[in-house]
């Protein structure tokens, strides 16, 4: 399967990339290409122009700065996976990158592409919802910051306008007594999640929940933030009973549809079970375990 013809540019700077993108109504950004190229080969996408970001300087970094962990949009999943900073301090993100597609795809796949594609089956969206992240976008009018909670608008639809480029995602640096976990059930390595749950928690000095973020993967048209479950837990002690109640609320927030990966009931049940387990692990990690 050969993709339809297209024009191709590989700018060296972000401003050139923004200009190229703005200059053609049917332009698309090529980041890691691990979702876009298969789509083009199936002829489900036929952009007239590809603006390749792979040669643009300054879009690939992992650094803590001004209270945020800043990850450049073109940072490869494999680089996140190998980062000791992520491994030591961001267990939710470390869990997540390990289960994105397969190791070969992770060598090219990018964090920015995984988010900008706004595929509910991608793993970063739920994780970034749980973290309370922000996304930075650059367009002809300059830079703007979009809270992740208003980034995913629908199936493959994000808050980015056609001429904007996602340049960075920012995660708040976790405070002491924080922990997280990502649990995914997939049929095989490389498949999208049947369901997955991202949890990030912070405990107060009494050991109760100071903050809770819960994101759900592939059980709706977008990744879902399980706000009722989060609110329920706030201020409460991390007991098994509370985990179970929150998990029920998270399963209620899910909107799965039956497909080859399972029935609606099965997926809801997965969300319930995975939420309990992810909360348990997140709390354990928040306590330093």
């Amino acid at each position: 399967m050969i993709p339809p013809s297209f024009d191709y540019v590989a700018p060296k700077t972000l401003s050139e990339a923004v200009a190229a993108l703005g200059g053609n109504e049917n332009a698309k950004i090529l980041a890691g290409g691990q979702s876009l190229i298969p789509l083009m080969r199936f002829r489900l996408a036929s952009p007239a122009l590809l603006v390749d970001l792979n040669r643009v300087e300054g879009l690939s970094h992992i650094e803590e700065k001004e209270g945020w962990l800043k990850i450049g949009a073109m940072t490869r999943e494999a680089d996140v996976e190998r980062s000791s900073l992520i491994h030591n301090k961001y267990p939710l993100l470390a869990d997540t990158v390990k289960v994105i597609s397969d190791p070969i795809v992770r060598n090219l796949g990018t964090v920015g592409g995984n988010l900008a594609n706004a595929d509910p089956g991608n793993d970063h969206p739920a994780t970034m919802l749980a973290y309370g992240a922000e996304v930075v976008a650059v367009g002809p009018k300059g830079e703007r910051v979009i809270p992740i909670t208003s980034f995913f608008l629908g199936l493959y639809e994000s808050a980015l306008s056609r001429d904007e480029i996602l340049t960075e995602v920012r995660i708040p640096v976790p405070r002491p007594r924080s922990g997280g976990a990502y649990l995914k059930v997939e049929r095989k390595v490389g498949d999208f999640a049947t369901a997955a749950v991202a949890v990030q928690v912070e405990l107060d000095d009494q050991g109760n929940f100071a903050s809770v973020g819960i994101g759900l993967t592939n059980v709706g048209l977008t990744a879902i933030k399980a706000t009722t479950a989060e609110d329920f837990l706030k201020g409460k002690p991390p007991s098994e009973e509370n985990f179970r109640e929150a998990a029920k609320l998270a399963a209620d927030a899910a909107q799965p549809v039956a497909d080859v990966r399972g029935s609606e009931e099965y997926k809801r049940s997965l969300v319930r079970t995975l939420t309990v387990r992810a909360l348990r692990r997140a709390v354990q990690r928040a306590k330093g375990g």
């Binding site: 297209f6 191709y8 298969p38 090219l108 490389g190």
Partner: protein
């Protein structure tokens, strides 16, 4: 439609070509350069049969455009043997019966090469995770894992001999 001049180094040898933007790297290798050791399996970014090393990293060459390889160093299965002598990874697959039909083998070996270059002494678990992007429908992976263990040992010994 746009055409682009690219310069690529493949298995240490420089190549220049004019390619259409939509030409996939795997087609460039197989059809333009006649390097047919790299196989096309699923054509859907799933199976890993077309795995090559792109600047040292394993990638699925069916999911990269040739034009993206401008200036890159590519290694394919044809680059493994030197002077008619099998690479330890090839030797491992031969000795440990790491293949049956052989279709996945070039991609499997290139993934193994990337893994061993990054982690010369992988555990069995690390090997299994390392090749989890490559599908084999014949072997059940048991002998593939043994082949990579064989290669790891052999490569470590060669390194030690060179050091001594």
């Amino acid at each position: 439609m746009s055409r682009h001049n690219i310069q690529v180094t493949i298995n240490g040898k420089p190549y220049q070509a004019e390619v259409e933007a939509r030409l996939l790297l795997v087609h460039f290798l197989r059809e333009n350069l006649n390097l047919t050791g790299t196989h096309i399996g699923c054509d859907t970014t799933s199976c890993g049969a077309c795995t090559v090393l792109f600047n040292g990293k394993a990638v699925k060459s069916c999911t990269v455009f040739a034009v993206q390889a401008d200036g890159a160093e590519i290694r394919t299965v044809e680059g493994l043997a030197t002077n008619g002598k099998l690479h330890p990874i090839q030797e491992g697959f031969h000795e440990m019966h790491g293949l049956q039909c052989g279709y996945c083998t070039p991609g499997m070996m290139m993934s193994a090469l990337a893994l061993l270059e990054q982690n010369p002494h992988p555990t069995e678990d690390e090997i299994r995770h390392g090749i989890s992007g490559n599908l084999c429908r014949c072997t059940g992976y048991v002998n593939i894992v043994k082949a990579i263990q064989y290669a790891a040992e052999k490569m470590a010994n060669v390194k030690k001999e060179v050091a001594d």
